[in-house]
Symmetry: C2
Subunit: 410 residues, 2 copies
């Protein structure tokens, strides 16, 4: 991608209405556009990061047998009334609207009820399970406050998966596989060192539920963590009895700020029983389906990565999700730079090529702000030594690398 062609422009001005570092940087670098508090559009660079994150999540969900679909934003009142969750007193984040004939509709803040309803068409027998479906969906939530940039949106992208099983035992098998799949996702995103399977309150069917919490100063949660033992708990479960079960003492835990980047939840048979999703077992008996749900906040993850990895010069993207691997800068040597751009691109290496007619200082500043993993500079000086100047985004010093070696390095 040639930077001269990209329509977004970087900005030196920190947006006055943003307190969150992720939103400040993403707006200044031209990754997102703020429509209103908690509502952001994703411009080409931002969409690229988002799609890269989605693809990693997709691959790991497919690997454990997830089937992708896409539900709708518009939801029927009747569906949500079956579980008592239409009421604004019970669910305080509904956006609601009306058809022209006055029929009230909800805008999906979650898809649990609607997916259970759909499954009544497809699950009839024990032979129809196990099955698990997932989607990448834009959720709308009427949050009272939205000050954390893309880490807590009123409109945001979530991966939500649902598992349908014949009993607790079959559920447990998939539930445990999902924990492993989630760990792979955070590992591929470079967050594994700071992301903990965190024990939280379990509800009616299980002792604990599990949140995935990433240590992050900008997060809105607190967890108590023991890095050596790899154990983390949230405040709800901080009783001596629970801690004993998990093999840690209160003294061994440190309180840290964190962001919830995923959660998995065992609904047992309660929701399917209420909504009438039953199956016939081997003996011909009607039994309610065992339901699990599994969320990953995709746009939140992008925000967490922006927050955690950025330095005072700008964004720092892990190679797995960066819009491009290489940020190529030409200083008055467009012919040679174009040749290298073509060579790298043809070798399947994605490149942002700064071919703009601006001063070198701005090019360097923008390379730092945009945050590609590898920076390569071509100038008269480097060409005299048949080289380019190379710097990883995370390094502070650059080095000369022979022109014919750069392909192997990036």
């Amino acid at each position: 991608m040639r930077l001269s062609q990209l329509f977004t422009k970087t900005s030196k001005t920190v947006p006055a209405d943003e307190t969150a570092r992720n939103a400040q940087l993403l707006i200044q670098a031209g990754y997102v556009y703020k429509v209103m508090a908690g509502v952001y559009a994703y411009t080409p660079l931002g969409l690229s990061v988002l799609e890269n994150i989605k693809q990693i999540v997709r691959e790991e969900m497919n690997a454990i047998g997830g089937q992708e679909l896409i539900m709708t934003s518009l939801q029927r009142q009747e569906t949500w009334e079956t579980t008592g969750r239409w009421d604004d007193e019970t669910v305080d984040v509904w956006f609601k609207t009306k058809l022209q004939d006055g029929t009230e509709l909800g805008l999906a803040w979650s898809h649990e009820e609607i997916i259970v309803e759909m499954m009544k068409q497809h699950i009839h027998s024990y032979r129809d399970m196990p099955v698990q479906v997932y989607q990448f969906q834009t959720k709308l939530r009427n949050e009272l406050r939205a000050k954390s940039g893309i880490m807590r949106g009123r409109e945001f992208v979530m991966k939500d998966m649902y598992s349908f099983n014949v009993d607790a035992e079959q559920h447990e098998i998939f539930y445990n596989r999902s924990i492993e799949a989630y760990k792979k996702v955070y590992e591929r995103l470079g967050l594994d060192d700071d992301t903990y399977v965190t024990f939280a309150a379990g509800g009616a069917f299980t002792e604990f539920s599990h949140e995935f919490q990433t240590i992050c100063e900008a997060g809105e949660d607190f967890i108590y963590v023991n890095r050596e033992k790899g154990v983390a708990v949230n405040e709800e479960v901080m009783t001596d009895e629970n801690l004993a079960k998990l093999g840690v003492t209160r003294d061994e835990l440190t309180k840290v700020k964190s962001a919830e980047v995923g959660n998995i939840f065992n609904f047992g048979t309660e929701k399917c029983e209420t909504m009438g999703l039953f199956f016939t077992d081997e003996s011909g008996k009607q039994i309610p389906v065992h339901l699990g749900s599994y969320g990953i906040g995709v746009t939140r993850l992008m925000g967490v990565i922006a927050e955690k990895m950025a330095d005072d010069r700008g964004l720092v993207w892990p190679a797995a999700i960066a819009p491009a691997r290489v940020h190529l800068i030409s200083i008055g040597e467009d012919d040679e730079a174009t040749k290298l751009y073509d060579a790298l691109t043809q070798a399947g290496i994605s490149v942002i090529y700064d071919d703009r007619d601006v001063r070198a200082g701005q090019k360097f500043a923008d390379a730092d702000l945009l945050g590609m993993p590898h920076r390569v500079v071509i100038s008269k000086k480097t060409l005299e030594q048949n080289s380019v100047e190379y710097k990883a985004r995370t390094q502070s010093d650059s080095e000369l690398i022979a022109l014919d070696k750069i392909k192997d390095l990036v």
Copy 2:
């Protein structure tokens, strides 16, 4: 994909609440799930077709320099008030909702205003143009009636592109390139023979605007078409004066039902002037930007293809967008069928493999209903001749093909 693993089930029952053939078939075959009139979820097979169509559109938009982004559903009242389009009297398809503090919000039925507003951050000089951006966006439109299945939704996917140019001349260049790109899209979808660039009323800035209309009995429009001359007009422009300009007479035109599968529109400078999107020209003068918009109804296209190509046995997908190329049926020969499934898959050929434990008749009926381009059957009888039974979805008779030749055929 093994059919035994796919969670959706086919149904022999025509949905009682659907009059549109596309919705009937897509529901029966398990491609979509109806949430309410005009609101459909896309299950794995349906999502696959949708993504294949999107990818074709994406490639053609990228080829003419389109930059992909994604805007938001939630919209601010102030943005739409600048052009007078917030008013429900002016725009009668708004869904509106409210923030918790009572602030009214709109749910995007279009993104023209918001994209122009965003561009104020990025377009300042004549050097910043030409630029064109596009998105695949879920639009919400509060249609009074929604009886055409996925051909007219209250929630549907559209590709909308916007061009920003310095003047009418620069605009014209891109406008004409977009017509060619649109033609390529319909050609790749197999709709080119029946899709016409149709002259429609032009508005303040141009004599004509252009719609892309596909001849389709289930469409909601009428056009007047001359197949030999390749000319089509809509009712608005059926004056003798206009027809003379287009080189046809009234007698040479046939009235046919059609579906609008795309439209392109020249806004001139009016909207940018109203909204304050100006640039500095070479002489330092402030000039309003010249705007164009370019739509393709992605879910509608899927509906049109379902309607037009289906026969009385079920769906018929063009190879370019089918969920898989091959529908493989095992009749009591699962070992050999699995070997072929693996061989085809490894050769990069996508396969739906019916490995279910159901009778042969149901497998044949489902292959027709699901509509993959190529059907391959393995049975004891075919294996005796070291062959498979092959039938294209559009053929009525099958033929024996040697096992080692089938890969080349599909």
